[in-house]
Amino acid sequence: MADEVLQAPLVLEYPFTRTTGPVVGAFLTGLREGVVLGVRRSDGTVMCPPLEYDPTTSEPIGEMVEVGQTGTVVSWSWGGPPRDQQPFDRDVAWALITLDGADSPMLHAVFVDGPSDMATGMRVQVQWADERVGHIADIAGFVPTGENA
């Protein structure tokens, strides 16, 4: 029987690089250029972030639509202090945000001081990262606009 409890660090790492395809590629290219793009589904609604296929009908879709950089929080959860690998240096809320002109929400962080500053229906706007490279983190997060829903 071992006298001591052994412990050792164990790191699992997968250095994936994914190809983006034409639709997600256009979305990420847009973020790099400071533009948020969605895609129009066959029923006329706009999905943002976009997919290449309509999730209901499986039909290929590729008509890109520029959406707004302000939106509405439809659901949220307080995230608290960031974990080691999250790209934040402060507490955040995680929120589903439907951007103006889009009909489906995107998941992103909202920068507020505490959960009492969060509310479903609150209005938020994009805060761009200082350096943008074509990645979802080009949107650093969202901040309240101060207007009412």
Partner: protein, 197 residues
């Protein structure tokens, strides 16, 4: 209004590449993003538990400790504390010799970015230790990878004594002993080797 199911002529193959339209000129005129890095990294503190701790501690003395299933007599190495066959706790310790044979192997010819220490081509193998009922993985070294065969007899190559730790990496690899190959008459499976001693 609910979306209508997409009606597609079954004789027409699905389009592979979506036609993208409507991209603003400001975006369309720049170099398109074609790939994105999405690394995944998970950091654990690993606690090996009772059986594997004993195995690792013994490694420091260049000993290979297995455990025997009290119901089937099968010998498992590295020991996990339970018999995966009978579902009971293993307890009886068995010290195995650092010799065995190659039960299965693979020659890798493509480098792995995160393992610069593995220079292709190299041979990784499932090695059945003498007296064990289950094989475990190691590198076959000190020979041409192409010379490895099913049944090749091998022995452990240990780190220098002053570098030994409580770690499985004490075994640098397995080198052919030069003994005649073990004849493997059929695909051997767990349950057929329980009487090996």
């Amino acid at each position: 209004m609910p979306a209508q199911p997409f009606q597609q002529d079954p004789s027409v193959p699905p389009s592979c590449v979506v036609e993208v339209t409507g991209v603003p000129e400001k975006v369309a005129s720049t170099e398109p993003v074609q790939s994105v890095r999405t690394p995944i990294r998970m950091e654990y503190t690993y606690t090996p538990g009772r059986a594997l701790s004993d195995y690792l501690v013994a490694m420091k003395d260049k000993k290979i400790i297995a455990e025997r299933c009290p119901e089937t007599g099968q010998v498992f190495v590295p020991p996990r504390g339970v018999s995966p066959v009978a579902g009971v706790v293993t307890a009886g310790k068995v010290e195995l010799p650092a010799t065995g044979y190659v039960e299965s192997f693979n020659i890798t010819r493509v480098p792995i970015a995160t393992r610069p220490d593995l220079e292709p081509p190299y041979c990784s193998a499932w090695i059945l230790l003498d007296g064990a009922s289950i094989s475990f993985m190691g590198l076959v070294i000190n020979c041409e990878p192409e010379s490895v065969k099913l049944g090749t007899r091998v022995r452990a190559v240990w780190k220098p004594d002053d570098e030994l730790e409580m770690a499985a990496t004490n075994i640098l690899g397995w080198e052919p002993t030069g003994e005649p190959d073990v004849e493997i008459p059929d695909i051997e499976r767990i349950g057929q080797k329980g009487d090996l001693e």
